[in-house]
């Protein structure tokens, strides 16, 4: 595998391999010295056209724990802000000898374009409303850690699916790994083309093993996707009463950052069912596994 652009790039075997490598990486992260020499001398560029502290830090930590040299290239205050095109930026990174470029970009498909213009590996760290494959991998890792398996599980992804790169990647990856995914939200935010869907959260919850809540931006209501934040919460927010309709073993996930009180109540977010903090922790291990597989490639 040269690039990781979409969760569709991963078949079940490769995805499972990444999760297995991530598990060994997690063991490293538990040690006092959290560092492996694997990518010594290799250069990883974090090319971030959007502010995303948590994803950038996660990738930075992952690359550093593998001993790679990390260059952070933020669009703000750089040549990009001066109007440099993605293609010219790609050539610059190429000239610097980047072995991998981790790109976060507001335009869907930007990583695909970049992959045409650089020789190194491209990792999609979130592109527009398209995909965020490492988020899906860390979610899969988290599910597997908590539930012991993914195959056969019922997963509900709830919220603004239309604008969610997390949802798109998760549908692809979790389906590849044998889960049955149902997308839940108001019809304005759930494109029927993406898979199984429901507009009725309460009908879905009793069957769900995993409930993944998506961030819903308040601005969506000015575009009439729903009438008000209050109505959204009432119909699609996850509160204590709704959680009690879920099976006892079911878990609650959220990719963050959360809108507490909008799509999820503090009671739920901070409950033992919630995996939100684990997801962040697992993010580093999973990204280490991805960099290892793309750049090291020596895993047997």
């Amino acid at each position: 595998m040269k690039h990781l652009l979409s969760a569709a790039d991963l078949d079940a075997a490769t995805a499972t391999e990444i999760l297995d490598i991530a598990a060994s990486m997690a063991a490293v992260s538990g040690r006092e010295i959290k560092k492996l020499p694997t990518l010594r001398g290799r250069t990883v560029v974090n090319l971030f056209y959007e502010d995303s502290t948590r994803t950038r830090i996660s990738f930075e930590a992952a690359a550093k724990r593998l001993s790679a040299d990390v260059i952070n290239f933020s669009a703000k205050g750089s040549s990009v802000a001066k109007g440099e095109s993605l293609k010219d930026t790609a050539w610059t990174l190429q000239a610097m000898g980047a072995d991998a470029v981790v790109i976060r970009h507001p335009a869907s498909g930007a990583p695909h374009r970049l992959a045409n213009w650089v020789e190194g590996s491209v990792l999609n760290a979130g592109d527009g409303t398209h995909e965020h494959p490492t988020q899906a991998l860390l979610d899969a890792y988290t599910i597997r850690s908590r539930m012991g398996k993914i195959d056969g599980l019922q997963v509900a992804i709830v919220g603004d699916v239309l604008h969610s790169r997390v949802a798109r990647s998760n549908v692809l990856l979790l389906t590849t790994l044998g889960a049955k995914v149902t997308l839940v939200g108001p019809p304005t935010l759930v494109p029927s083309e993406l898979g199984e869907y429901s507009y009725d959260l309460d009908a879905v919850l009793p069957e769900a093993d995993v409930v993944m809540m998506l961030r819903v931006q308040r601005e969506r209501m000015t575009d009439s996707y729903f009438p008000s934040a209050r109505e959204y919460s009432r119909r699609y927010g996850l509160d204590g009463a709704r959680v009690r309709r879920m099976p006892d073993h079911a878990i609650v996930m959220h990719p963050g950052p959360m809108n507490r009180g909008m799509e999820i109540t503090p009671e739920v977010a901070d409950s033992p069912r919630s995996t939100i903090v684990e997801q962040v922790t697992n993010g580093v291990s999973v990204r280490m596994a991805c960099l290892y597989l793309l750049l090291g490639g020596k895993h047997s």
Partner: protein, 404 residues
């Protein structure tokens, strides 16, 4: 077949001052494009009237209608006369300027349509192409007003509120690719409204680049009711579909967007049965930097002049009568270009093109005459090749090469 020409007009045998022997080639009346972007004035880095004229002649055209979305916009007699004059100077095809409907294409108030009609450019087709005349009252007035000089409004049918931020056809692929959808209903609702408006005021209406099965159905019904509506389809909408966006290569980004196979089939059927009157290229050259970028930041549009005839042959087969009608006679009639689209017989202006129907050629973006290279057909092998083109008896293309 032999074509006898005198003073730029086809004459009877014996009266000619020159003779063209078509040999084994197919003679078609010079093609007429109702929808061309020549980019001059304003974006001479992407195309000029001269380079676009070369591309047109090589594609078998003898007349093209230049869209108004230049910079400055062709919304005054001065600009349309400038474009007309540049076309005459290039001398390869007749460049007929289209005038803007509204000042600056802003959709707020009418441009001086009468002044453009009365100018030396004799504008009869008006369009805000690239923008929809979406205000229903303004559209009604425009349709009514141009009746005074038998003009026609060519509508870019796109309800703007339904296409805010739109990047590609709304459907399975837009959902998968995370690109904002351009729903078919945004086109169809405007066409439905406008055929009713045209009927109400008794005006002529032309629909640019029809792209959906639903639009074909609305136009079919409107024609059955006697409404004076004509419609065009582009070569790319007859051939390409939205799955191509999966590469995120903006060479496939176009407005209206590439749609589904079902739409393609309905457009082909509509073109055959006459619901759609013509093929028009929507030739839209763009500089490299406007295409070599992220999909969402790229400008929409594709080259079309040099490939249109081959795509038509590919789609319609070697039905030369049908091709002559849809690409020459009918567009000339809609644009009111009396000297074009005439059958090749004595008395007609000697505007024609000779096509090798057996030839096949591979599209090379950098081998095209256009200054830009944004063809979606790169690497494709297409049937039929223009060998010679004549404008008023003067050869503009000889052996596949432009003469000036």
């Amino acid at each position: 077949m032999k074509i006898y020409i005198r003073d730029g007009v086809i004459v009877e045998k014996g009266q000619e001052d020159r003779l063209v022997d078509t040999g084994g080639l197919v003679a078609l009346p010079g093609l007429v494009d109702l929808h061309t972007h020549l980019r001059e004035p304003g974006r001479e880095d992407a195309e000029t009237v001269l380079s676009g004229s070369r591309a047109a002649a090589l594609g078998g055209f003898t007349a093209v209608c230049a869209m108004a979305n230049t910079s400055p916009v062709a919304d005054t007699a001065g600009v349309v006369e400038q474009v007309y004059r540049l076309g005459q100077e290039a001398g390869l095809v007749d460049v007929q300027p289209i005038g803007a409907v509204t000042v600056g294409l802003a959709g707020e108030r009418l441009a001086e349509l009468g002044a453009m009609a009365d100018s030396r450019a004799r504008v009869r087709v008006f369009s805000d192409d690239g923008h929809c005349v979406h205000d229903p009252r303004l559209m009604r007035r425009a349709l009514e007003y141009v009746k005074a000089f038998d003009g026609v409004i060519a509508q870019h049918a796109e309800e703007p509120r339904l296409t805010e931020g739109a990047q590609m056809h709304e459907g399975t692929e837009s959902a998968r690719l995370g690109l904002t959808g351009w729903p078919a209903v945004a086109e169809e609702s405007i066409i439905a409204r406008d055929v009713l408006l045209a009927a109400h005021v008794g005006a002529r209406l032309h629909i640019c680049h029809v792209s959906t099965a639903g639009s074909v159905e609305i136009i079919r019904q409107a024609k059955a009711r006697g409404i004076r509506v004509t419609a065009e389809v582009t070569p790319h909408h007859l051939l390409l579909t939205h799955e191509l966006a999966g590469s995120y290569d903006p060479v496939y980004k176009v407005n209206p967007p590439l749609r589904t196979e079902r739409d393609v089939n309905a457009l082909r059927e509509g073109l055959r049965d006459g619901t759609i009157d013509i093929i028009a290229t929507d030739h839209a050259p763009h500089a490299a930097e406007d295409k070599e970028c992220e999909w969402a930041y790229a400008r929409p549009g594709m080259l079309g002049l040099e490939t249109a005839l081959s795509i038509a042959i590919h789609v319609l087969g070697q039905d030369w009568e049908l091709i002559a009608d849809r690409m020459s006679a009918a567009p000339a009639r809609i644009a009111q270009l009396a000297n074009h689209g005439q059958p090749l017989r004595p008395g007609s202006p000697a505007n024609f093109t000779l096509v090798d129907p057996a030839a096949r050629w591979t599209v090379e973006p950098h081998g095209l005459a256009s200054l830009s290279h944004n063809t979606p057909y790169a690497g494709m092998v297409l049937p039929g090749r223009v060998v010679h083109t004549y404008l008023r008896g003067e050869q503009t293309v000889a052996d596949g090469k432009v003469t000036k």
